[in-house]
């Protein structure tokens, strides 16, 4: 009984931590499940058969973008290959048997391509920097846990190498996410309260020598 209660409490706490903005995201679970099970496989098939480089779809507050990745079709199981980001932990959105495996594998492909123009700086990520852009860097997660950015770190904020951009909560212990370079904060890839894995890209940075980010920043 006690175990059961503790488990329930733990789940609730985890859910609270995951969903910093609470019920809005929970309400979207149905939408994302529909996306995962119905729309995404169809979308993947469509992308595969087309000449398109990218497809984006919106469902409720959720948006999924698929982008073609060059050279991602080697390996014995390319249909369900999960490479750079095998699963962004999104509890409640996966775990429906085998169908999500296919979903998981395509989501990372899009993410991987999106990140490939960035120099991956952070805890050792050997062999994952195909096109290094000397003007950009990215702060990666030091651990598995829940990401909390510092609110003052908005796009455009000037930072020095070593400045704290936020932290990852690992069982109640904060592990700092620091800027690897002098520069400006670019886009935050992961939202506050989201679960992140080790090495996951969290915050993009424009190097000090680069021109200030325009438009999207």
């Amino acid at each position: 009984m006690a175990d059961e209660r503790r488990r329930t409490e733990r789940r609730a706490a985890a859910a609270r931590a995951r969903d910093a903005d609470g019920s809005a995201r929970l309400a979207d679970h149905a939408a994302i499940d529909r996306l995962a099970e119905d729309l995404l496989p169809a979308l993947v098939a469509k992308l595969g058969a087309s000449d398109l480089g990218e497809i984006e779809i919106r469902e409720g507050a959720w948006k999924v973008r698929l982008r073609r990745t060059d050279g991602a079709t080697d390996g014995p199981l390319h249909g369900r290959r999960s490479t750079d980001r095998p699963s962004r932990p999104q509890p409640g959105h996966a775990g429906h048997g085998h169908a999500p495996a296919a979903v998981e594998s395509h989501r990372p492909a899009a993410l991987r391509d999106g990140s490939s123009t960035l120099a991956a700086i952070g805890p050792g990520r050997p062999g994952s920097e195909p096109r290094r852009d000397p003007n950009r860097a990215v702060a990666t997660s030091p651990a598995v846990g829940i990401f909390q950015p510092r609110p003052e770190m908005r796009p455009g904020t000037r930072v020095r190498a070593g400045d704290r951009l936020g932290f990852v909560d690992v069982l109640g212990v904060r592990q700092e996410v620091v800027s690897p370079v002098d520069g400006r904060v670019g886009a935050t890839v992961v939202e506050s309260g989201e679960a992140v894995e080790y090495g996951q890209e969290l915050v993009r940075l424009e190097l000090a020598s680069a021109p200030a980010p325009a438009g999207d920043a």
Binding site: R10, G75, L77, S82, P86, P89, G92, V144, E197
Partner: protein, 456 residues
């Protein structure tokens, strides 16, 4: 039953646990290090989550990373596999404190059996014979010297935590003892994070025979027969078979029943293995208990038809055993060959590299548990196990004949493996006559062993 399990391991055992989860309708999340990003269990998992860099101390051995991964992915249990955190009672306790279930014995039971030295004393109290050894853990070199002199050389230095031959040394004279202790302490510390050691009298020409048990939370237990793991090199098992050729049916039943009675009486829970040393006279001595699923568990699965991993998960979920001793029937003979990435002609040096071709043997009674695929890069950071070939037949000679065919068929191109040593074992008279003891391979030396086998 659990809804979602985090698999905190890698390689073939991660895949084995994943298959068990599928069978039980449980979602599985594979926790992996950066070096295992392209591994088969990660590709096949329902979800996968990166917990740290290649260095196991910062990933597979890092308890907070593993537990955090289970929490953020919404798992309700953690399967530790073997090695890594599988027998760490501190880890099991923290897992429980976070409202998760550790798939294995409960933390209290693990604690009771955590120390090998303590388990020996506990189970000796329930009627299992043990090898003469040091009185408790070694306090320092002087204490070790006193104890070794009392027991009589040669002695075997053993680590209180862990297994797999690490931190273990046989010492013949007092003069060698100090250096050997230093090496064992350092090996044990880096492998298990615990450098406490104890001594056992070294008995020559022994067989290693172990008994598989499964005990539910309600004190109902069965034994699933024994396995003979006498083919070893430097205390590392490389081939396991059942039934043991060392004992007749009556002696095997006696051993298994006494082992089961003792662990049930001592309050053991879940699947476990009691290791015994069997001497030339057929007398057996209890050495240690392994509170986890073992590498060689498929040997027992082939003989009994019982799935040990699903049994382990069910027991951890609080289910009672659905079968009794009378339901356990052991049929035929099974042999497991550990296929390692190591070079038997160069002192079994571990190999890393890319698997260029991988052809798995088949036919009646053949099972291959492996995480390899063509194109897979075997990382250099972990143990060298590439997979396990398990062969079953109605009797031992037929199992050996099938194994010869299967080993010839097994093709792993791109890196050096120990397949040749298995082929050599299958033409060794001591093995064929069922007289293998744990020291044979080391005494002969692998080069001589291979050469003898290739002689017409």
């Amino acid at each position: 039953m659990f809804e979602k399990i985090l698999i905190a391991n890698r390689g073939e055992i991660a895949l084995r646990v994943l298959r068990a989860c599928r069978l039980l309708g449980i979602s599985a999340v594979v926790a992996y290090s950066e070096a295992d990003r392209e591994s088969l269990p990660v590709q096949l998992a329902d979800e996968a989550i990166c917990i740290g860099p290649a260095d196991a101390k910062r990933s597979y051995l890092l308890a907070p990373a593993v537990i955090s991964a289970a929490l953020v992915t919404g798992c309700d249990a953690i399967h530790p596999g073997y090695g890594f955190l599988s027998e760490d009672e501190g880890f099991a306790e923290v897992v429980r404190a976070h409202g998760l279930t550790f798939i294995g014995p409960s933390p209290q039971v693990l604690e009771r059996f955590a120390s090998k030295e303590g388990s020996r004393r506990l189970l000796a109290g329930y009627g299992l014979p043990t090898i003469p050894g040091s009185n408790g853990l070694l306090r320092d070199d002087a204490h070790a010297l006193d104890e070794a002199a009392r027991i009589g050389f040669p002695v075997l230095i053993k680590p209180s935590a862990g297994g797999g031959g690490k931190g273990m040394r046989m010492v013949r004279t007092a003069r060698e003892l100090e250096t050997a202790l230093k090496i064992c302490r350092s090996e044990a510390r880096s492998a298990f994070g615990d450098d406490s050691l104890y001594l056992e009298k070294w008995l020559e020409n022994n067989r290693h025979v172990e008994v598989q048990v499964a005990v539910d939370r309600y004190g109902h237990g069965v034994h699933l027969g024994e396995r003979d793991c006498s083919v070893q090199r430097r205390h590392q098992k490389i081939l396991e078979e059942a039934p043991t050729p060392a004992l007749d049916a009556a002696a095997r039943t006696d051993l298994c029943e006494r082992a089961l009675r003792a662990v049930v009486a001592a309050g053991y829970e879940n699947v476990g293995t009691l290791e015994f040393l069997v001497d030339g006279a057929g007398d057996f001595y209890f050495i240690e208990i392994n509170c986890r699923i073992q590498v060689e568990h498929p040997v027992t699965e082939m003989l009994t038809g019982i799935d040990l991993v699903t049994t382990q998960i069910r027991i951890a979920a609080g289910e009672p055993l659905t079968f009794t001793q009378a339901d356990v029937a052991m049929r035929g003979h099974a042999i497991e060959f550990r296929i390692n990435a190591e070079d038997p002609t160069a002192d079994f040096r571990p190999q890393a590299g890319t698997v260029e071709r991988f052809v798995v043997p088949g036919g009646p009674g053949i099972r291959m548990d492996s995480h390899l695929y063509a194109g897979y890069d075997v990382p250099p950071f972990y143990d060298s196990l590439l997979g396990k070939l398990i062969v079953w037949a109605h009797d031992r000679p037929t199992a050996i004949a099938r194994a010869r065919v299967a080993l010839d068929e097994l093709l792993i191109e791109g890196l050096t493996t120990n397949i040749a040593i298995h082929q050599a074992i299958l033409s060794n008279d001591a093995f064929l006559e069922g007289r293998m003891t744990t020291n044979v391979l080391d005494r002969i030396g692998s080069a001589a062993f291979l050469a003898a086998a290739s002689r017409p």
